[in-house]
């Protein structure tokens, strides 16, 4: 299991002198046959700082459940609110609350990150307090790119912007260079401060600053970022007049192929569903089952250097690279 603080059941595999592998006694535990070496390696190479848009009224109702579930898998997480709360903790953006404040909060949040945490991550993810993210799968999407490329990813929508823009609720992630250009866009007044539509305004700024709207779909062209809950995408039949059909940049697929096995996000996720999705993603499985879809690491992954967090356990074996090519 990937090193989240709550998980002590980390499988240990030891190399003997002859190169044969023995399982140490710690492996006789619940996640005992689990081998997370690829996830551990990519954790160090694709560092994601997650920031969650929330507010004082939602800390106990919503943000708390994000904190207890998916945000633990980020390299770093910051909860952004209109006001400081040292107990939760949240960073105060010194704004008001409300739908019309969303873009202003977003601008302030990204500026805060650029000022205080620019060198601590490679990618900067924005999510709502009702967005569920599978961070390990986001790392796979990003693994084919380097943080110095001006690019951002999310659920791509089409109208109003030539290269499209990313849905706010489904979560979107900026490369380090994209963040730099976003902040620069405001410094030079290329990007405007006023908008009631956060995600569109951000998309328009990105376009003006030469940041590419990336294709986040998996290798079978299935979507990974989703603007609704799994049930809607998997079983829902959208009416022909529903706005969604016109908004999606890529063709809409209904039924099981709506969604990649390695899905990255869902939106409008209730507290209960946060835990259910965490259970489905990280715990419940079919023993011995050979998945149909088995993508490997992308070709550009080899270019990425490893970074050690201060929070990382020591002893993560970096000479695993050669081994990784064989196991993936």
């Amino acid at each position: 299991m990937h090193p989240t603080k709550a998980d002590p059941t980390h499988a240990q595999v030891v190399e003997t002198a002859e190169g044969a592998r023995c399982l140490t006694p710690e492996t006789f535990l619940s996640h005992s046959s689990e081998d997370s070496r690829v996830a551990d390696d990519i954790y160090n190479k694709v560092r994601i700082l997650c920031w969650v848009m929330t507010g004082p009224a939602n800390l106990e109702k919503k943000a708390r459940h994000v904190k207890a579930t998916w945000s633990r898998h980020c390299n770093m997480v910051i909860f952004m609110s209109s006001t400081d709360d040292p107990n939760f903790p949240t960073i105060g953006l010194d704004t008001k609350e409300g739908r019309d404040q969303l873009y202003w909060k977003t601008i302030r949040a990204f500026h805060y990150l650029e000022q205080h945490h620019f060198n601590e991550a490679d990618w900067f993810l924005k999510a709502d307090d009702d967005t569920f993210i599978v961070v390990d799968n986001l790392r796979l999407v990003l693994a084919n790119y380097t943080p110095d490329e001006p690019i951002y990813f999310g659920k791509r929508f089409r109208p109003f912007a030539k290269q499209g823009y990313m849905s706010g609720g489904a979560g979107y992630v900026l490369s380090k260079e994209a963040l730099r250009r976003f902040v620069e866009g405001f410094r030079t007044n290329v990007c405007s401060h006023t908008s009631s539509v956060e995600d569109l305004a951000l998309g328009q700024c990105m376009e003006k600053m030469g940041v590419l709207a990336g294709d986040s779909r998996d290798s079978l062209h299935r979507e990974t970022f989703h603007p609704f809950v799994p049930e809607s995408h998997l079983t829902g039949k959208f009416t022909k007049s529903f706005w969604y059909w016109n908004y999606c940049y890529y063709p809409v697929v209904e039924g099981p192929q709506c969604c990649s096995d390695l899905a990255v996000s869902f939106h409008y996720v209730s507290a209960e569903l946060m835990y259910i999705l965490e259970y489905y993603t990280y715990h419940l499985r079919a023993y011995g089952y050979q998945y149909r879809y088995n993508p490997g690491l992308p070709e550009n992954y080899a270019r990425l250097p490893a970074h050690k967090d201060t929070e990382q356990e020591s002893g993560k074996n970096n000479s695993l690279d050669a081994h990784l090519e064989k196991t993936v």
């Binding site: 207890a68 799968n137 998997l234 899905a263 259910i276 993603t281 089952y289």
Partner: protein, 317 residues
Amino acid sequence: MYSEGGSFMKGMLLGGIFCIVATLLSSFNFGHQQHTDHHNHHHVNAPSKEELLRLPEHKRIELSQNIRVYCVILVEPKELAYWAAVRETWSKHCDKAEFYSSEEVKVFESVSVETKDPWIMLRKALKHAFDNAKDHKWYFIARPTTFAIIENLKYLLLNKDPDQPFYLGHMVKSGDLEFIELSGGIVLSTEALKRLVGVLGDSSKCPEQGRMIWKLPEDKELAVCLKYTGVFAENAEDTEGKDIFNTKSVNTLINEAMAETPQEVAESCCSDVAVTFNGHSPNNMHVMMFGVYRLRPFGHKFHDSLVFLPPKDSDND
């Protein structure tokens, strides 16, 4: 004359009451005599890593292929939406899935048992299963409101001999009777089913109308009949002691964990290798199918001792 008649009536009444009580007691107490030869383990565990590693590699592969499960799914026409969901989801992972319906339905294939009585339906379905599926080693009985993960069932059954009498699932104690709740799924070994079929024809032990004056639910009737043949219910748990057959839905179990252990809800609510959940809507079953067979975090592999391939002609797993 009059006083003699009165005594006679009192005698009749007393005798009648005594008769009823004796009948009741004998049904419940029957189990006592058998208890002394009851095999000790009351809980059945999924095999631990140590147990699996003791089996040689070729044996494990052989087991993956040979451990065959016949699914007996008891449906009614009014449950068409659930029936459809089960057909489209988990039943595809049974080696053989047969739907036993109270009456024939145009839309879906089924074996009609031509009765609405749940106990008679179960009896007929099991007799039919026994007669038609002799090369299957294990029988899994479910209602369409249940979602089952057959691979995890096979993992549980891996090191168990189907020629021994096993009757497993979510066990409940009701008075003196220990039985497996149908809503969590019932597992019978070949031997257990053979013994049951052997006693179905004996109306003193296992009558169609049940042995009680009032009707027992069919899962209790089953337990009573099986007890006559020396087959006893056992609860199934994983290596951490968590139930793997659940009579509740994931939603219910998660909500309970949110109240009891809010700091580790997904970790503690349920087993990682759960076999069943009950009470999910048809749509939720499709979500669970995605959650079990597809959704996972990249970069984590499992070195499992069994190998199960995806079924043909399916795209939601």
